[in-house]
């Protein structure tokens, strides 16, 4: 059994989560998707592309963020179709797993709807994995249910679920990966190498969907905190890299074209941290790093719309001496660290910070338990849901801040 909760409860939780996720997605599909709308001229990022269509394109006649066409084109390429973005211009060949899985239902529903349905299922997977992890970490099914409610209404999922983009799938896969590691007791000293290797291999499939460096980061951080044998950690990491290596190796061996420009981003980020023109020199360097750190904190807050992160930090302080604290800390570090690493060159994308969500939402749900259900719902759950849905009622600034950091901050207080 994955969950210690009764199977009937698990099914009810799954059904409720599916309803919430479908509702949140339904409110934001097509031209209503924040990641499409906010690239149009009248929104914060409109300054970036001086055309009436912003950074949008179409799939099945539905307006989408232009990056999404890369994934629908990859799916079309696999079916031998002429596509708007052929592989030689496609920067996301390494994420082809998402293109293939996301378009699986396209023969029945059309390409756009297929990707959105896949997003909904990955979101549901992430919510249910968080439920099981919450019950295990806190011993409270109530915390599990509250965590599911928070994940199922999480603004970062909602803002991207209507896009054929791999973010929602990667968030879900991260939580499912954590659950897999938990289920096979990967970090125990007596875990057989064979189990560790197979778990690493299975989890490594997620790297065909996105640069999910957060999973290997979790293995390293939690493994070190738990003093897992280094041999086991190394084995898991090597096995985890295999699916991506196999896919990229095949692509190279067959001399298939790809546009691999953005695979250099991590190296550019590393150099960015050392670039004196970017961070300054001497005393100004301290100021430069402080500004970057502040931007990192802003991103962490923005992606959760601030309130649940504060509540989670408060709950973590109360649990800091418990065994589970190491797991929460490892998830948070693994969820934030890769995005913080990219901060030097890519400071404006809070969506990269969302991977800490299992720790943040489980802790926020546990805080509800600590202060009492009624007060907790009034002070934590209801504000979280209200903040996450302000965009539906026309108050879009918070959601804009979640998706893109503006070049000119005055947009926040301009009408």
């Amino acid at each position: 059994m994955l969950s210690r909760a009764a199977p009937r409860t698990t099914w009810l939780v799954a059904l409720a989560a599916l309803c919430l996720i479908s509702l949140e997605t339904g409110l934001r599909v097509g031209s209503a998707s924040p990641d499409t709308r906010y690239t149009l001229p009248r929104f914060s990022l409109g300054y970036f592309w001086d055309t009436p269509l912003g950074w949008t394109s179409v799939i099945d006649g539905v307006p989408v963020n232009r990056d999404a066409v890369q994934f629908s084109s990859l799916a079309g390429f696999f079916n031998g179709l002429n596509v708007p973005v052929p592989p030689q211009d496609n920067v996301y060949v390494r994420f082809a797993g998402y293109a293939l899985v996301g378009s699986a239902l396209a023969p029945l529903t059309g390409t756009y709807a297929s990707f959105v349905l896949a997003n909904v299922l990955f979101w549901l997977g992430g919510a249910l994995a968080t439920y099981v992890l919450a019950v295990r970490r806190t011993g409270s099914p109530r915390v599990g249910v509250l965590a599911v409610v928070l994940v199922s209404t999480a603004p970062v999922f909602a803002s991207l679920a209507g896009q054929p983009l791999p973010y929602v799938a990667s968030y879900g896969l991260f939580a499912l990966g954590l659950l897999l590691f938990d289920q096979v007791r990967l970090f125990e000293r007596d875990t057989p190498p064979r189990t560790a290797a197979l778990a690493g291999l299975a989890a490594g499939t997620s790297l065909l969907f996105y640069d999910l460096y957060m999973l290997p980061a979790f293995v390293v951080v939690y493994g070190l905190l738990r003093r897992t044998p280094l041999k086991t950690l190394a084995l898991v990491l090597v096995m985890m890299a295999l699916p991506r290596l196999a896919w990229s190796g095949y692509w190279q061996l067959m001399h298939l074209p790809s546009y691999s420009h953005n695979e250099q981003h991590p190296m550019e980020a590393l150099l960015g941290w050392l670039d004196v023109q970017r961070v300054g020199s001497g005393l100004r360097m301290i100021g430069g790093y402080a500004a970057l750190a502040a931007h990192g904190l802003l991103n962490m807050g923005a992606v959760f719309m601030f309130w649940p992160l504060g509540v989670a930090a408060w709950e973590f302080w109360h649990r800091r001496r418990t065994d589970e604290a190491r797991w929460f800390a490892a998830v948070a570090i693994a969820g934030f660290a890769p995005a913080l690493f990219m901060l030097s060159t890519w400071p404006h994308l809070p969506r990269w910070y969302a991977y800490a969500f299992p720790a943040v939402y489980i802790l926020a749900a546990a805080a509800v338990n600590r202060i009492g259900l009624r007060a907790g719902i009034a002070l934590v759950v209801a504000p979280c849901i209200a903040l996450a849905n302000l965009d539906v009622f026309g108050m879009t600034k918070l959601m804009e801040l979640l998706l893109f950091q503006p070049a000119d901050w005055s947009y926040l207080w301009s009408p």
């Binding site: 079916n79 031998g80 293939l100 378009s103 023969p107 059309g110 291999l201 065909l208």
Partner: protein, 193 residues
């Protein structure tokens, strides 16, 4: 002791049978995928990718559940991955769009050989009864919706440059031009003069 050993042996045999059956699903499913359409590099790449993804899912289920459950999840996963090999349902007959919103912009479109008119799918965006722009070289009746326009051409024309005249604007007076994926328009065609 003998009875316990025999039960364990039977359980191991059953486990091995489910694992073997799962491998059969992988092989047959991959072959079905390859047979779904002519084998080329795209089809082979998709088959390899599908096999990698299938292995990931199946392994995860084997680790957290029983080989029997992994077999059935594997069958479902393979059905989904094979379904992806079929052609996607066509919802609309265009897959790209471009906005003309300045008079110094030109959009060049190819003209099929031997034709004396070009049919383009456009969507004029404007307030009021008429837009503040026109299409250079043609006079077209504009609607507040997507519409097919037939642009008459001299014979022998190989490309057409679409350009706006008048005073188009980025924020509310512009023309969206769609790039078609189908040869045949799916709607009424309005003729420009």
């Amino acid at each position: 002791m003998v009875a316990v050993a025999s039960t364990a042996a039977r359980a191991a045999e059953r486990t091995n049978s489910w694992l073997a059956a799962s491998m059969l699903v992988l092989i047959v499913g991959t072959l079905v995928r390859l047979a779904a359409r002519p084998i080329d590099i795209a089809a082979a790449s998709a088959a390899l990718l599908a096999a990698l993804l299938w292995l990931g899912v199946w392994l995860a289920v084997v680790l957290v559940s029983k080989p029997r459950s992994a077999f059935f999840i594997g069958v479902a996963a393979m059905v989904m991955l094979d379904l992806a090999a079929l052609s996607p349902r066509t919802v609309v007959d265009f897959d790209q769009r471009e906005a003309l919103y300045r008079t110094d912009q030109t959009l060049t479109l190819p003209v099929p050989p031997g034709t004396t008119q070009l049919v383009v799918l456009v969507e004029p965006v404007f307030d009021g009864a008429q837009p503040r722009f026109a299409l250079a070289g043609w006079s077209c009746p504009w609607q507040h919706a997507r519409q097919y326009l037939a642009l008459p051409l001299p014979s022998g024309t190989t490309t057409v440059d679409l350009r706006l005249t008048g005073s188009p604007a980025r924020d509310g007076d512009y023309l969206i031009v769609y790039a078609p994926v189908a040869d045949q328009p799916r709607g009424e065609i309005v003729r420009c003069s």
